[in-house]
């Protein structure tokens, strides 16, 4: 049992911290958000030179084959700084999709470009009329003259507007809600028939509605095994969940620190408002929630690498549910304890709260995670449930 980062990890964390301090102040971030691109190329390249894009990429392809914990420390730092660059969509989601599911050719061509940051990706799964379910896919891909033809629409695709290549889930067989029959594809957004509408999201990022109208792509565009994309989709989603759990912890830490600071400096009734017990207790509860969330982010970071899918699903769902709940509490209280100032756009507080709100629903809100959690019990739960039952027979 050991809850410490390794020496290299501590060093990495320090250099990320320094880099962000220099290049990612709250004002610098504001300028990036207001800019045309919605991201900063120099910052993106800076991540590359620190090796951050190489975390999901195996060494043979120019990365360093990092673990869930490496992702955790990066995302925690990104949460503190409220980084808006498409690291999650591109490096994490696409990086792991290719690393875990790509063909040899796809891996050898694309992974080096993930690692050096020269290509950016977006990941499109959700569709109009769905709510985070992984099995709901109405977008279709059919084979025609040896090519794939894609039809359908993807909604709120994070960073869809700036991606060089999209990863899209599509139905290749089965009913609209069947986990079987889903396949993943690379789609070039410049392909004819791809339409897009980019817009800002409330947390300072960009997303896009993307349509596919008889988009014809090459047979090599499929990722992984035909009809069998669900497992990969879920594995990559769990990577995303682990990442945003860590990011949320970074946000919560920042809110807790800012609130503590405010309680010590803001004067009312002739004393710092931190003297009021009602506020002290609220802040203590924020602290407790943050620590509980940190514990679950650690669990997520460790279990995302677990070979047992049921165990992975159960832990990741639990982590996401708790982190979402904790984030909502910490965010709401942080605004409340800042009074009117908490309501302003000027203060960072509101921006953290908005990012936490976005994270809470991303990859499935609490209700959906509880569903995943309890349904992954069914298999595990036979044991804890049946064991006492047997014992109880001779007891009662």
């Amino acid at each position: 049992m050991d809850f410490n980062y390794s020496e290299e990890q501590v060093l990495l964390r320090e250099s990320i911290g320094k880099f962000l301090q220099k290049n990612y102040s709250f004002e610098q971030r504001r300028a990036i958000i207001q800019g045309r691109e919605g991201m900063n190329a120099a910052v993106w390249d800076g991540f590359a030179s620190m090796g951050l894009h190489g975390i999901p990429v195996p060494e043979e392809f120019g990365g360093f084959g990092g673990s869930g914990l490496d992702v955790m420390l990066v995302m925690e730092a990104f949460g503190r700084a409220l980084v808006v660059e498409p690291y999650l969509s591109s490096t994490i989601m696409a990086g792991y999709t290719i690393a875990l599911g790509g063909s040899d050719a796809q891996r050898s061509i694309l992974l080096p470009r993930i690692a050096d940051g020269s290509m950016k990706f977006a990941f499109g799964h959700g569709e109009p009329g769905t709510r985070y379910e992984l099995n709901q896919v109405a977008t279709t891909a059919r084979q025609e003259n040896g090519m794939w033809v894609i039809n359908g629409a993807k909604s709120v695709m994070m960073h869809g507007g700036l991606a060089d290549l999209l990863i899209v889930s599509a139905r290749t067989s089965g009913e609209v809600d069947s986990p079987g029959g889903i396949s993943l594809f690379f789609v070039n957004p410049a392909e004819s028939g791809v339409t897009g509408r980019e817009y800002p999201t409330y947390d300072g990022m960009r997303a896009a509605e993307v349509g596919f109208d008889n988009v014809t792509i090459s047979p090599e565009s499929i990722i992984g095994v035909l009809d069998d994309g669900y497992a990969l989709l879920e594995a990559v989603t769990d990577r995303g969940i682990a990442a945003v759990c860590a990011e949320a912890v970074g946000c919560m830490d920042a809110l807790k620190d800012a609130t503590l600071d405010y309680l010590k400096t803001r004067q009312q009734f002739g004393m710092p408002i931190g003297k009021f017990q009602a506020l002290q207790h609220r802040l203590v509860d924020m602290l407790i929630q943050t620590e509980q969330a940190r514990s679950m982010a650690m669990l997520a970071a460790v279990k995302v690498d677990a070979p047992d899918t049921t165990e992975r699903r159960r832990c990741l769902a639990a982590a996401k549910e708790l982190v979402g709940r904790a984030g909502r509490f910490v965010g709401q209280q942080a605004i409340q304890l800042h009074g009117g100032m908490g309501m302003t756009d000027e203060l960072a507080v509101g921006h953290y709260v908005k990012r936490l709100a976005a994270i809470e629903t991303m990859f499935g809100d609490g209700d959906l995670q509880v569903d995943r959690f309890t349904s992954s019990q069914v298999e595990v739960a036979e044991t804890p449930l049946r064991k006492p039952a047997r014992k109880w027979k001779n007891l009662v």
């Binding site: 410490n4 959690f373 006492p388």
Partner: protein, 398 residues
Amino acid sequence: MDLNYSPQELAFRDEVRSFVRSRLPHEISRKVLEHKRLGRDDYLVWQKLLHAQGWMAPNWPAQYGGAAWTAVQQHIFDEECAEAGAPRIIPFGVNMVGPVIIAFGSAWQKQHYLPRILSSEDWWCQGYSEPGAGSDLASLKTRAERRGEHYVVNGQKTWTTLAQHADMIFCLVRTASTGKRQEGISFLLVDMRTPGVNVRPIITLDGEHEVNEVWFEDVEVPVENLVGEEGRGWTYAKFLLAHERSGIAGVGASKRELRMLKYIASQEKRSGRPLIEDVRFRDRIARVEIDLMALEITNLRMLAAEREGRAPGAEVSMLKIRGTDIQQTLTELMMDAVGPYALPHLPDAWGDHWLGEHVGPEYAAPLAARYFNHRKVSIYGGSNEIQRNIVAQHILGL
């Protein structure tokens, strides 16, 4: 980072597990698992078994007969015992007064009391709270006046847990009423059989007799029963608090109760289906289970920090707040799970030798009483509000 126990710790867990499995009497674990009332002997039988194994005092140094385990080992031990349905070790002797005697007691006190704590020959109780001194303990009034070779004690303690079984009580008493209030407090060991000591039961809302008033009327206590120095009792009490933390999160017991909750919910029905398949109820169980997962890791993080020499301070308060909250939720859900059959109040039904017929399922009988009883966990041992004050002061610096 590694969330797993080391091979040595796993071997230790196996050793504890096989001991508990083979030696914990079935009639006793059955009572714990089914929430039946435990008698004095149930505790004593288990404690004596532990003593014979040399495991009665996990946190004492070996020279006093302790097991000298690491914080992680103690946690493993607590968890194994709790999950198997062992009665909790009555903490007042081995976890509370014992460490104080070891740290501050006289040679005679060590020689006389420590072995008797280990063997459970003396049952101890804790005489801190008074009618006028609860959270504000330093306002206590019970007086001890030095007269020759004795202290003469007058006053009243209250909420004294299981004083009805006790042979000894450790008390905070006032030996001076001038100067700072904390400096007039001393730590005294009193034999419950001394003339003038009177125990009166307090019946709690669940109908049980667990706590008492302890009255002192001209009780003569030999001066050799003063621990350490006169007027230093407050310091010793604070030291004791630091030792009370072992197992404060109650993770093992909560895991056991969660299992029981799922069992009950799998037996109960709503609209003809097992209650555990009812989405609303299932979600309530899931949320407390997730909270407990997080607490378990938070607890392990603190143990690991302790092992690395970072002594836990006010962080323990966070474990107490979360841990008791989860315990209370579990009792709540179990009571809710049995629906109307929580209502019948037949206290004998969860006692020994009940031959009567149960109303509803047998497991339902004690659940309401247990729910009411567990409101205590956020009050005693420093109420959860006091714990929040501690965190605000010592961690947040407010």
